[in-house]
């Protein structure tokens, strides 16, 4: 084994800031009441089990995987709704781009209807819209995909609760400790401050961190508007003291 192979690339993951991340129990979002652990989380420094993660090569991707306007459409057809580009970078807490990160995204159609067996909202399905896509970040951590802007939809929480327009994101970094699922919202949506799921976030800064901004510079005239959405994953420490005797 070469010396490079025996030297750990860096230290463990920086602990998650639980004062910033949402709590498990958030009664305004009713389903969390019986799905939240009551015991404290058990804290341990990450080990190889959390510092490694599966690799997804670009060969995984089909030609239309990042084009939701066309990836479920009949030939010559396209999904109905406001055409948008969503782009940004996946970064770590040090601001370094995260290359090779698999992003999966899913959303409702322009009328707020999901293509799912358990969804029963009366808004119509779009026969040319499936609602899922995926991509892998480039060397600098950048990504982009095309879709239609999803509509708000009602959900059985309070008597008149509506989700803001949103796109769900699932993100893989380089360590399983970075695994993250979140949601992207759209600048200026008046449903954002009304939503109990947004309401689990602990500060306006946290809400803003999940709100994509309209970018007219990246907007393609007569074609698609553009929204920028950066995603930040946990970073890793340096290795000092990693091998000290007591191990903690």
């Amino acid at each position: 084994m070469s010396p490079a192979k025996t030297t750990p690339p860096s230290g463990g993951f920086i602990p998650r800031d639980r004062d910033w991340q949402p709590d498990a129990l958030t009664p305004g979002y009713k389903t969390s009441i019986k799905r939240s652990p009551q015991a404290a989380l058990l804290s341990f420094p990450s080990s190889l089990s959390e510092e490694t993660s599966p690799v997804f090569g670009h060969g995984l991707l089909g030609a239309l995987d990042s084009d939701l306007i066309h990836n479920y459409a009949q030939p010559g057809e396209s999904a109905i709704g406001p055409r948008i580009i969503v782009y940004g970078r996946v970064l770590d807490e040090m601001g370094r781009g995260v290359p090779g990160a698999l992003l999966e995204f899913w959303q409702a159609n322009a009328g707020g209807r999901y293509r799912h067996k358990k969804e029963s909202y009366l808004a119509a399905l779009d026969p040319n819209f499936g609602g899922c896509g995926r991509t892998i970040t480039a060397e600098d951590g950048s990504y982009e995909f095309r879709t239609i802007q999803p509509g708000p939809y009602p959900w059985p929480n309070g008597m008149n609760d509506w989700r803001p327009a949103h796109i769900h994101f699932s993100v893989f970094g380089h360590g399983f400790a970075q695994r993250l699922i979140t949601q992207m919202y759209f600048e200026g949506d008046p449903h954002i401050p009304l939503c109990p799921i947004v309401g689990i976030l602990k500060s306006q800064d946290a809400v803003d961190a999940l709100t994509a901004v309209l970018d007219m510079h990246r907007t393609v005239p007569m074609d698609s508007r553009a929204y920028k959405f950066d995603i930040v994953l946990r970073g890793r420490r340096q290795t000092y003291f990693e091998n000290r005797e007591d191990g903690m």
Partner: protein, 204 residues
């Protein structure tokens, strides 16, 4: 005013919601854009080591099975090596991905992983961790993914020496992390989100 630390903040988590399958296991819900669902096949050829099946159900605080959860596992091969870009100790079994993803059955909630028994992995100080699988649970009502570990009840000696299991104050809760033998190569690992039999979840 002292200097500022200029770290970025991790993106806040949000629930995966009830329709996580559309994005992560689309074929499972009838959307056939991709050729198959990622994570359903962990063995891409003949694998080294003991082949096992892990089954389980995620229960909420009322004892009701979750029928809309998504469970992911991440583990080393039988030799304790990860199929990861940052595995520096050697080459992992080329026919084993180490990563699995399972939606619970839409009626019963039961998830299944067709995998191999993991080998042991070192702790940072060189001690040996007992064989274990990292598990991650997301669902409607879960605001941030829950990390836990699947250990094996038939590895008593290794479990007793495990750096994490041996440090847990509530030793009576350790059994919540042990997969129970149901037959040759078949283990059950039920997950209880809340209540007296609550699974231990990690901040790791």
């Amino acid at each position: 005013m002292v200097q500022k630390l200029d770290y970025l903040r991790e993106s806040p988590s949000q629930t995966a919601g009830p329709y996580v399958h559309i994005g992560c296991t689309p074929n499972f819900t009838g959307i056939d854009i991709y050729s198959g669902d990622l994570g359903t096949v962990m063995k891409t050829g003949p694998v080294q080591g003991k082949e096992i099946v892990i089954k389980g159900i995620v229960f909420d605080g009322t004892g009701t099975p979750l029928r809309d959860a998504m469970i992911e596992i991440w583990q080393p091969d039988a030799a304790g090596l990860f199929a990861s870009a940052n595995e520096t100790r050697g080459a992992a079994d080329p026919n084993f991905t180490g990563w699995g993803r399972s939606p619970g059955d839409m009626t019963t909630g039961e998830f299944t992983f067709d995998t191999v028994k993991p080998g042991a992995v070192p702790w940072a100080d060189g001690r040996t961790q007992a064989p274990h699988i990292t598990a991650w649970i997301v669902a409607r009502g879960i605001n941030i993914g829950l990390h836990t570990r699947i250990y094996f009840e038939d590895e008593a000696e290794a479990n007793a020496a495990d750096p994490i299991l041996s440090r847990i104050e509530h030793q009576n809760r350790i059994q919540t992390l042990l997969a129970k033998r149901e037959g040759d190569g078949v283990y059950r690992f039920d997950i209880h989100l809340q209540g007296p039999t609550e699974t231990i979840f990690f901040d790791i």
